[in-house]
Structures are given as C-alpha cells and as structure tokens.
C-alpha cells in the first residue's frame, strides 16, 4: 500500500479492482475514489462483495488485480468485537500501539469517548454485546486512524442499542474526521450515519449518492433517496416494507 500525505489526493483510490474466489468474480473491475474525511456507507446484498472490499482495504487480502491506494493509517472494527478475552478492557484498547502510546491513560481517554471508562478493568467476557462493540470502536479510534473501516459493527445489536451507537458514531466522526467506510446491509443505518452512500452490485459500484446534511430533517427527500437506493440494490417493490 502506498502511504503518502493525505491531501489533495483522495484517501482511498481503487482502479479496476478484480477479485475472484474460484471462477466467479466477487469484484469485477471496481473503480472508487473516497475523499479524505468522507463518511461512506457501502450497501449491497449479501454476497455482493462488500466485506471482500473492506478486507482488501484493511490489507487482509492482497490476491487481487488492479491498483489499490490507501493513504494513511488504517484501523478496523469488525462485525464481532474480537476482543482478547484474557486481557482487561483497557489493555485491549491500547495493545498493538507503539510502546510510548500503550498506556492506561490513553486507553481511558479512548474509553471515555465511548462512555465506558468505568469498565476499564473488566474482563471482556463480562461485557454486554453493545459494550463490547463500543470497546472495539474505542480500540479502533485509539489508533487515530486516517482511514476507519467498519464491517457491519452493529449487525448483532438490538434496535435501541444500534440507535445510540449511530448517535455515538456521528459525534465521534465530527470530532476525529477519519475517512470512514462503513459496510452495512441496512439502508436506514447508511442514511443515518453517512454523507455518501455506495451501492455495490455485480462486483461494481452500481449507485453512488451523496447524502446532504438536510436529509436528516427532510422526510420527503429522505424517502426519495431511500427509494433510489433500494432500486439500486435491486429490491423489488413487494420486497419493501
């Protein structure tokens, strides 16, 4: 990966990315630019290659053709929290950081941002699903990443917890401004968090929509955008709720 200064080049630049498992290509000549600081939601039906794309960007898979540029440091929060069960919460947050940065003070700062500083000394197995996911988020943010990758991090949470996580994320984005790619299958989640929504279909970017800030306060615009995105996803009218 090419790691140079973030601006003015886009934070993420993909050209003609192709990735296949066996015969069928999951990504087929995908082109994509993401500007620094942009919060992008990546939608797609299951099997559309959205998690594959995220793994490529995380550097977990390099068996691809095409060119892939990610400017700056990358951090990931996975679908499951993936905390080390045998290390205390605060250790989980800072483990892997440089020697001078893996301090308890740094961990507490990161945990405060997700409102969990008082759980710093707990074992991860004693946390609820939502708490563990917030710790995982704190762990990703403690690395002060230029690029934050989120792989359906709220998939396993209940609706109430999800709503409060969305609010938390919006606050954290406003503060840190990392370039963010959020993989999700939930159109409403995408509209709630992102300022740009991409629809992945047949291994390519099939739809690309900016979400103006006003959308949050304008139900009509929101509904129109939602319908367009569902069309892009290939959701037939009788499949919609």
């Amino acid at each position: 990966m090419n790691r140079t200064a973030p601006s003015p080049a886009p934070a993420i630049a993909l050209r003609a990315i192709t990735k296949s498992y066996g015969q069928a290509p999951v990504l087929a000549g995908l082109d994509l630019d993401i500007a620094a600081g942009q919060v992008v939601a990546l939608l797609g039906r299951s099997g559309s290659g959205k998690s594959t794309l995220l793994r490529l960007l995380a550097g977990l898979d390099d068996a691809i053709t095409g060119s892939l540029t990610v400017n700056g440091s990358v951090s990931v929060a996975f679908q499951e929290p993936r905390l080390l069960p045998w290390r205390r919460v605060w250790r989980n947050v800072v483990l892997g950081l440089d020697r001078c940065d893996d301090t308890r003070a740094n961990a507490l700062t990161a945990l405060e941002q997700v409102e969990l500083a008082d759980l710093a000394d707990r074992w991860p197995l004693t946390l609820s699903g939502g708490q563990a996911q917030r710790v995982s988020l704190a762990r990703a943010l403690a690395r002060r990443p230029d690029v934050l990758l989120l792989d359906e991090p709220f998939g396993a949470l209940d609706a109430l917890t999800r709503a409060s996580m969305h609010a938390l994320l919006r606050r954290l984005f406003a503060e840190h401004r990392p370039t963010t790619l959020l993989v999700t299958h939930d159109v409403d989640e995408a509209l709630a968090i992102a300022d740009r929504v991409l629809v992945l279909r047949d291994g390519r970017v099939h739809g690309d929509h900016l979400v103006p800030a006003i959308t949050a306060h304008d139900p009509t615009r929101r509904q129109i955008l939602r319908t367009t995105i569902l069309d892009d996803l290939g959701v037939t009218p009788d499949e919609r709720d």
């Binding site: 977990l60 074992w123 690395r143």
Partner: protein, 280 residues
C-alpha cells in the same frame, strides 16, 4: 391394566401409559435428596473391612485391617522411614517434571508456532508418542543402568508427551479471527505470540499438564517397582518380601495423596490463570 394405572398415579390420568403403575409412586421418592452425607458409605466400607479382618474372614497376610494400616502409617511417619522415602520419591518426581515440562513446553511451542517446527518436530514426536513409554523400561535399564537416570527419564517422558500434544494443538487452535484482528491492529510478531497464541493455548496446556502429572506418578510407581534401593517403591517392595501388607497399603495411600496434591496445585493454578473465563 389401564384401571390400575389410573388408581396408582392419579396425576397422569390424562395420559395413562404402560409403565405408569411402576413409575408413578416412586417419582416423588426419587426426586428428594437422600439425607445421608456422602462420606457415610465410605466409612461403612472401612467398618466392613475392619470387621472382616477381625473375624478372620479376610486373612491379615493378604490385606491388613484399616486400624493396623493407620498405626503402621503413624509408626513409619514417626520413625522417619516414611519421610526419607517420601523425600527420595518426591526428588525423582521433581527432577522428572523439570525435564519433562521443559521438553514438552519447548517442543510444543516450537511445533505449534512455526511451520518449520511443525514439519520437522511433529512427525518424530508423534511417532515416539505411540510407543507405550513404560514399555521402554528394559531398554532404559540396558542404556542407563538401574540408578536414578532411567527413573527420572521415564517420569519426564510421562509428563512431556501429554503436555506437548495439548500445547501443540492449543497454539494451532488459536482463533483465526483474533489473529486477524491482531494483524490489523498493528501487533508485532512477538505481541501476536504473547497476547494471542500463548493465552489461547493456556487452557489446553493446563489440561495437558494435569494429564501429564497423572502419567508422571504412574511412571514413578512403575520405575520404583522395577528397581529401587530407596524411596516409596523400595519401601513397598521390601514390605512385600515380608508379607507386610499394612506397609504396602501405607505406601499406596501416600502415592495417592501425593498425586492428589499435585493435581490440586494445578487446579489452583488453573483458577488463577483462567480467571478471565468466569464472571468477575
């Protein structure tokens, strides 16, 4: 038939089955907890044994009564004979464990953590493992004579193999999702080993250690039976010559207590090392 079922168990009127007249009345008795403490039956067996010995039903030269065994144990302990035998045997175990644990842990980690280690070490170790190590006694005597070396070696082999297997598979079974997370979070290779691979192997390793300890004690007993001029096995063998069944049993009881003791130590260790598994 169905009439008797109805009268025997009124609770199951709605579904009279063939076995109702048998099971019906006893259900309540079975569910209540017996009011007898668990050690009562054990005490009963000892009492029966004592009675059988006193009434000459059980010949004393085949098996001494519990009372004699207790007094003999006390006498051996006071004379220092038991103490010095215990010291010798414990020394053998300690030395054997030292070598065996070192070998098991080192080889297990080497073959678990590195592909080269796995390719080079695992096949010969697995092949050796299939040999019943206690069957090596004749060869060991040929090679090392009859003093301490073959005994310590047998004990070391007893503990090394179970430990090797558990560590090898424990390291290999590290959760790939955690390893992947460690990679994207910027762990160094050393941090991956220290914070991911080793902790995930630890529960396996401790189970292996407990198994290994059992094997180690067994190896000690066999080694001491074959040939010894000191130690618990020597005491037991000597007593056999003179038909002192009480001394033999005392020796066996001491073996059992020692085995229990080391097992307890490992379990304590387990509870401390794996405290993250339980709720706070």
């Amino acid at each position: 038939m169905s009439a008797s079922a109805l009268t025997a168990s009124p609770r199951t009127i709605s579904s009279p089955r063939a076995d109702d007249d048998v099971a019906g009345p006893s259900v309540i008795a079975r569910s209540s907890h017996p009011a007898v403490p668990r050690w009562a039956s054990l005490l009963g067996v000892l009492a029966l044994w004592q009675v059988a010995s006193v009434t000459k039903l059980l010949p004393i030269d085949l098996l001494a009564p519990p009372s004699t065994i207790a007094t003999t144990g006390w006498r051996l302990a006071r004379s220092g004979e038991l103490g010095s035998a215990l010291l010798v045997s414990s020394g053998r175990i300690a030395l054997g464990l030292l070598f065996g644990v070192t070998a098991g842990v080192t080889l297990g980690l080497l073959s678990g953590l590195s592909r080269w280690g796995d390719a080079l070490l695992d096949p010969p170790v697995q092949a050796l493992r299939t040999l019943p190590h206690l069957g090596l006694v004749p060869l060991f005597i040929l090679w090392f004579g009859i003093d301490e070396t073959p005994k310590v070696l047998l004990i070391a082999m007893g503990v090394a193999f179970p430990l090797y297997l558990s560590i090898h598979s424990g390291v290999r079974q590290s959760d790939p999702k955690l390893l992947e997370a460690a990679r994207v979070l910027g762990f160094t290779a050393r941090q991956r080993v220290w914070h991911v691979s080793l902790p995930s192997a630890l529960p396996h390793a401790l189970v292996g250690l407990r198994q290994g300890l059992g094997m180690a004690w067994l190896s000690l007993i066999v080694a001491e039976q074959v040939n010894a001029s000191s130690g618990l096995g020597f005491m037991i063998n000597n007593a056999r010559e003179f038909l002192q069944t009480d001394v033999v049993v005392v020796g066996l009881v001491v073996y059992a207590v020692l085995g229990l003791l080391t097992d307890t130590v490992v379990r304590k260790l387990e509870r401390r090392a794996l405290s993250w598994q339980g709720p706070l």
